[in-house]
Symmetry: C2
Subunit: 236 residues, 2 copies
Amino acid sequence: MRYELFYWPSIQGRGEFVRLALEEAGAAYTDVARGSAGMAKMMSLLDSTKVEYPPFAPPFLKAGKLLIAQTANILLYLGARHRLAPASEAGRLWAHQLQLTIADFVQEVHDTHHPIASSLYYDDQKPEAKRRAADFLENRVPKYLGYFERVLTRQRGGHLLGARLTYPDLSLFQIVAGMRYAFPNAMRRIERKHRRVVAVHDAVAARPRIAAYLRSDRRIPFNEDGIFRRYPELDE
Amino acid sequence: MRYELFYWPSIQGRGEFVRLALEEAGAAYTDVARGSAGMAKMMSLLDSTKVEYPPFAPPFLKAGKLLIAQTANILLYLGARHRLAPASEAGRLWAHQLQLTIADFVQEVHDTHHPIASSLYYDDQKPEAKRRAADFLENRVPKYLGYFERVLTRQRGGHLLGARLTYPDLSLFQIVAGMRYAFPNAMRRIERKHRRVVAVHDAVAARPRIAAYLRSDRRIPFNEDGIFRRYPELDE
């Protein structure tokens, strides 16, 4: 079965967490909106009144007859199918719990540049963004990364769930990569206290399929339309 | 098995979505932090270095040997166990997808009064809160409730998944109840266009176990420490 991934074609965004899982799994997939007439296809699925289970927003994944939305939900599905999650119920719930915590973090990253409204430009909420980003870097990033560092200390084995890589590891890689892009100054300082988190990033980046993906043009570069944006005034 | 729910004892908050599922299921549970020495027990579990799968934050549920955190994850678990979700994979994913969309909405509700930082008082971010709440009521609430209205139109049967009640219905009830508390003026206007969403609220409120729960002192009243807060200046 060839998957069809639907996501905005010019950003990593939330779709990237799905792309990383598909790439690590070596799964066959089409990044639909990046292909010819792909945006029209995505929008028509979003707007169609015939879709039984309509997505609220991209990303969504077509897997045979299934149409699955919400990033963490897609990963729940892919994790079970591609050995990117444990088989036991306890293990599956734990992986998902970590992923949902990562999802919360991603929302907070987004809100550093859009604290007032997604419908407004960044330029229309810059003073608020500065305040929010400062609190984010001072309080929230250490809280989240400190949590993952603690988990890694407890689990040992170099991954969030121990010896084997699971989908939250791929997402944690993306968190570190994104934070380095958006907040290079703050991250230099923060990384020193979160060595195990950084080690997960490095281990994921070195996996053959992920390394090949990151070198390919399937990996969209970070940019200022995505979730992780480099606005130097937010990283002083 | 008697569940133990761990959540802040003086607010509905995110814990309420779990409480509603436990109550509808008729499950035996202890709301630990509301009992004697309960807060100490909750904090020691949060801080313990011995918990194999540590929660990032409340709510979390102890179910035998399992310790499950993240509201939607807890509901994924309870839904499967108490017939509050379909048995099929497609149905389970769809219910969870809806729940994750509700979780996103809950975060946006929270940020209407805390757009800059959870670590600051509301009074320290009032102008920003007014701007964010205005956008929330104008753009986001219609987008979310319009989505659920569309789902209900398509599924028929009076519930999000059709004829049978599932856990996202319970959460949608809480959304309507909370919005009525926090934004009564805006909701009077908004409800007119979302009759099916309101009908789910009414159907849930009328279920015998939920009705008994809402009358009991197990239901903590809405207040200005929770997620849904009545600040009249945000609802003009």
